[in-house]
Symmetry: C2
Subunit: 148 residues, 2 copies
């Protein structure tokens, strides 16, 4: 990506997140991993990216503790990239990106994938933000405060 | 960013979102705009980015319909970058990134900002994903299906 200030020491959690996974490829790799892919060749086939770029991104994701390398589950010589809890917990980020795209980046009737509740098969509701007492919060019901 | 396949025609909503806002800078610009910044100079000061890079990103965000350009609200000659509804609706993406960072990228006790409910001043709850019937869904309670 374009050169930019490193935000790793920034106070802003959003900037820190983007430092770890904000390069464009990383979230697509994580999406694929949440979908069950584990091997370099599987990611490469899915993403169509150059091997050197994919290798660099996977190395960075391992360094960030988002993936861990494991011997292949089938006993072969391959290694597998397995999401850690830290990696799996990016699920809400991907859901938020998906729901925004559903609203704004698809034509009505255009074919695509849908995130559904396994039990009912019905589309999930929008992500919801609640107050501690349960009230549903809109953006304008929230504010940022500096801590402590 | 590194050269990559353009995902604009991709079926995957996540890939499309990242095409629009996945370059690393864009979400920080949108974060600043949600925080009240409107002018080129304000974004530049906040982000510390080179003017040409910021100008290119803002142009792209306007082209994507995430910002619109308006005459300055104070009647001066400046133009302001104002988030459209499409832009404002990226709020959940930023909340998801923030909450992930809170969990994994900060040391205990490290100073940072916190997203709170305006009314109570208390920290908001984690983003929640619910089924149509209201059940709280974890990642493993969901699946992707191709539509139609």
């Amino acid at each position: 990506m374009v050169k930019r200030t490193c935000f790793e020491d920034a106070q802003c959690p959003i900037a820190r997140s983007l430092d770890a996974i904000g390069d464009g490829w990383s979230l697509l790799i994580i999406r694929d991993a949440l979908g069950g892919r584990r091997r370099f060749s599987e990611f490469q086939k899915s993403l169509g990216t150059a091997k050197n770029i994919l290798a660099a991104r996977l190395r960075a994701l391992v360094a960030h503790g988002i993936f861990e390398l494991r011997p292949a589950s089938d006993g072969s010589a391959y290694q597998e990239y397995v999401l850690t809890d830290k990696g799996k917990d990016l699920f809400p980020v991907l859901v938020a990106l998906r729901q925004w795209a559903d609203d704004y980046l698809f034509e009505p009737g255009e074919e695509y994938t849908r995130l559904v509740d396994r039990k009912s098969g019905k589309r999930v509701r929008r992500l919801e933000l609640h107050a501690q007492d349960g009230r549903l919060l809109r953006r304008q019901d929230t504010e940022l405060v500096r801590v402590p």
